[in-house]
């Protein structure tokens, strides 16, 4: 038995962190829209299962690359090498991230390095490597920040730092490129119904990754922007930032 991949897609989107959560939802949504895909995640078993599924359901052209972003020194080069016979690159989506429950100033140095590798080094390295091809295609880079980066707290310390650094990467990319040469989109995500929030009591409902994926796919290739998603988190972030310091210090959880 074999999966069929017979799409006539004109361009390829790279999705890093594609095997679960928002990444998997993005892969499904873009395959539904006929986009060729290069899926990157850490476990070849998950990638192969997803690639077969998308090829069967949507006749999508899908290639995969298993990559341990916590340990890979040059993930961008690996992705470039894996493009193979895929159509030209048009989009890079980076819904990749790792958060740890004990990211509260109690992490050993190795774990801090792992968090920074996945949340910060990998997006930077991959953007750097793929930038020439994306410029040539007048393509789109989609970065995913987090509501956690709105204001630094005693939890998610390293994770939030890395996510805030992505805001700087977003600004750098936009500053360095004319609007029509490269589209740069930054989504600051609120709570998503993924395994990271499974079972947690959240102050507001978690969004379905499939809904977020539809939103992102619809705006792919359009202008540059940074926005909260779901949009109500813009208000949440504004309130958190506006809180006087004495009140913010008392926030727990």
């Amino acid at each position: 038995m074999s999966a069929h991949a017979t799409s006539a897609a004109a361009s390829t989107a790279v999705i890093v962190g594609a095997s679960s959560g928002l990444g998997r939802a993005l892969a499904t949504e873009l395959a539904r829209r006929g986009q060729a895909l290069l899926l990157v995640a850490s476990d070849a078993r998950d990638l192969q299962a997803l690639a077969n599924d998308l090829a069967l359901r949507f006749e999508a052209t899908v290639a995969t690359l298993a990559l341990d972003l916590a340990r890979e020194p040059d993930p961008g080069a690996r992705i470039l090498a894996a493009r193979g016979e895929l159509p030209p690159l048009s989009a890079l989506l980076l819904p990749v991230g790792l958060s740890l429950a004990d990211d509260d100033f109690s992490l050993p140095a190795a774990r801090i390095g792992e968090l920074l590798s996945i949340n910060l080094h990998a997006p930077h390295a991959i953007v750097h490597a793929l930038l020439p091809a994306l410029r040539e295609a007048r393509g789109t880079i989609v970065l995913f920040g987090s509501i956690a980066a709105a204001r630094g707290r005693g939890r998610n310390v390293v994770y939030a730092s890395a996510k805030r650094a992505l805001e700087s990467l977003y600004e750098s990319l936009r500053q360095a490129h004319p609007p029509r040469a490269l589209h740069v989109q930054l989504y600051r995500l609120g709570f998503l119904a993924t395994n990271l929030t499974w079972g947690m009591k959240l102050p507001m409902p978690a969004s379905d990754p499939a809904d977020i994926a539809r939103h992102v796919a619809y705006r792919l290739g359009k202008r540059s922007f940074a926005r909260y998603l779901p949009r109500r988190f813009a208000l949440v972030a504004a309130i958190v930032r506006a809180l006087p310091w004495f009140a913010f210090r008392r926030m727990r959880g």
């Binding site: 679960s20 078993r45 299962a49 997803l50 077969n52 069967l56 395994n195 499974w198 947690m200 009591k201």
Partner: protein, 447 residues
């Protein structure tokens, strides 16, 4: 919130209720969405796989086990349009798989009534479809499966490799491991089903009609459960019709029966409600006739039964399902009719089916006629007493119960119904000597 050290293992707590509402528990649920998370639980952690959560009984939670929710493993892995084989992950819902296959000229001939049942659940429960006498049970479709066993990893099983474990897993109620994927043999679907209605006066006549129509694609009876009309009903015989144009039917996923149905605050199935419904159904169905329907409509009749299940209210229902050998069926039907006249139970629905398989393990198969009885409020004393009386009658006539349907079954009943109970139990548990798998159902049944 899950304990900090279990974050990332996707472990949480939730209140789970069996589909018949006879058992509820605060369960710990692990929801792996990647293969490596299958190994995240400590090897000795007691567990049980959970699919769509639509088993009538508590087959996927309870008994201090972590429920391993497999719904993220729902991908199609391979499909050969020429030979009719499909490989899917265990969490794929059978309704979704059929929706993929049918436009491509294939389908799974054995499918339970609920479209949200998963492939893994269908294998573990060895479910039957619309005519088990023709198509067998779900195990007949399984060419190969993959099983996750703590400490051993992912094992590939078929009739040539690890045959013993393969056999024990099909119909093994999840006690041998967590099914992760399966390769299934498909059948060419008819364009439409010509569904003929044959009215019957009683259960004995229904059995004769069922036996004469053994090769139909769809074959089952509906019967009135009221004492004055007990057994009267209709047998529906569905034959392939490749020339007819079926009536329009919305087969989209949006129409699938939900996994959880909110009960109506006031139950419908009191004596008056049952009388009204049965009278209406008798007038509508119990007359000769022919309908040409879409295959998906025939495969998932429960999609039209949302109000029916909600109507049981918070007290829920019990489905008693017994398979009676042919030589004893008429005597059983007569004794049951007599018992119903004496006890006057509330029975909301009776259905009959023909079986022509072999008896093995605790699977619901064999040669005979099955009867399924839906009883509202089974905890009520007179209803409960009737359930016990049915079990006594069925055992006295050589009947086999369906453990995956009947939450009133107890270990003592199982031991009496299965003469080789201890041997079958030992055969099942040989693959899990440390008892790392278990559910409320398997605890209740003494497995």
């Amino acid at each position: 919130m899950p304990p900090a050290d279990l974050r990332g293992f996707a472990l949480a707590e939730a209140r789970l209720t069996s589909f018949d509402r006879q058992f509820a528990a605060d369960a710990r649920i692990q929801r792996p969405d990647r293969y490596r998370l299958l190994d995240a639980l400590p090897p000795q952690q007691r567990r049980i796989a959970r699919g769509g959560g639509v088993s009538y009984v508590a087959a996927s939670f309870g008994d201090d086990a972590v429920s391993v929710d497999m719904r993220a493993f729902d991908r199609l892995l391979a499909f050969d349009i020429h030979t009719g084989l499909v490989c899917v992950e265990a969490g794929a819902r059978i309704g979704d798989v059929q929706r993929f296959l049918l436009p491509r000229g294939w389908y799974l001939p054995v499918a339970p009534g609920h479209p949200r049942a998963t492939i893994g659940g269908c294998i573990a429960a060895d479910v039957h479809g619309k005519n088990p006498a023709r198509d067998g049970t779900f195990r007949a479709l399984v060419e190969e499966l993959q099983l996750h066993v703590p400490g051993r990893g992912l094992l590939s099983l078929d009739v040539r490799h690890e045959r013993d474990l393969f056999d024990a897993t099909c119909g093994g109620f999840g006690l041998t491991g967590t099914i992760t994927r399966a390769t299934l043999r498909l059948t060419r679907p008819p364009r439409a089903i010509a569904l003929r209605r044959v009215p019957v006066d009683d259960l004995a006549q229904a059995a004769r009609v069922l036996r004469e129509a053994a090769n139909a694609r769809v074959l089952y009876g509906w019967h009135d459960g009221r004492p004055a009309h007990f057994g009267r009903g209709v047998v529906r015989i569905g034959l392939s019709d490749d020339d007819a144009r079926p009536r329009k039917h919305d087969a989209s996923a949006a129409r699938d029966l939900p996994a959880t149905i909110r009960p109506l605050p006031l139950p419908l199935w009191n004596r008056h409600g049952i009388a009204l419904a049965d009278a209406w159904l008798s007038r509508r169905w119990c007359k000769p006739g022919l309908d040409v329907i879409d295959l998906t409509e025939a495969l998932f009749p429960l999609n039209d039964a949302r109000l029916y299940f909600a109507g049981y209210g918070k007290a829920g229902l019990a489905e008693l399902q017994w398979l009676l050998p042919h030589p004893r069926f008429e005597a059983f039907a007569a004794a049951l009719t007599e018992r119903v006249a004496r006890d006057q139970p509330r029975i909301a629905l009776i259905s009959s089916k023909l079986f022509d398989g072999i008896t093995q393990s605790f699977a619901f198969d064999g040669k005979g006629i099955s009867l399924a009885l839906h009883l509202p409020d089974p905890a009520q004393s007179s209803q409960r007493a009737f359930c016990e009386a049915v079990a006594e009658l069925a055992i006295a006539h050589g009947g086999r119960p369906n453990p995956i349907k009947d939450s009133t079954l107890e270990a003592t009943t199982m031991r009496r119904a299965f003469a080789d109970f201890d041997a079958q139990r030992a055969a099942l548990l040989r693959h899990d000597p440390e008892r790392r798998f278990g559910s409320e159902m398997t605890r209740r049944l003494g497995l």
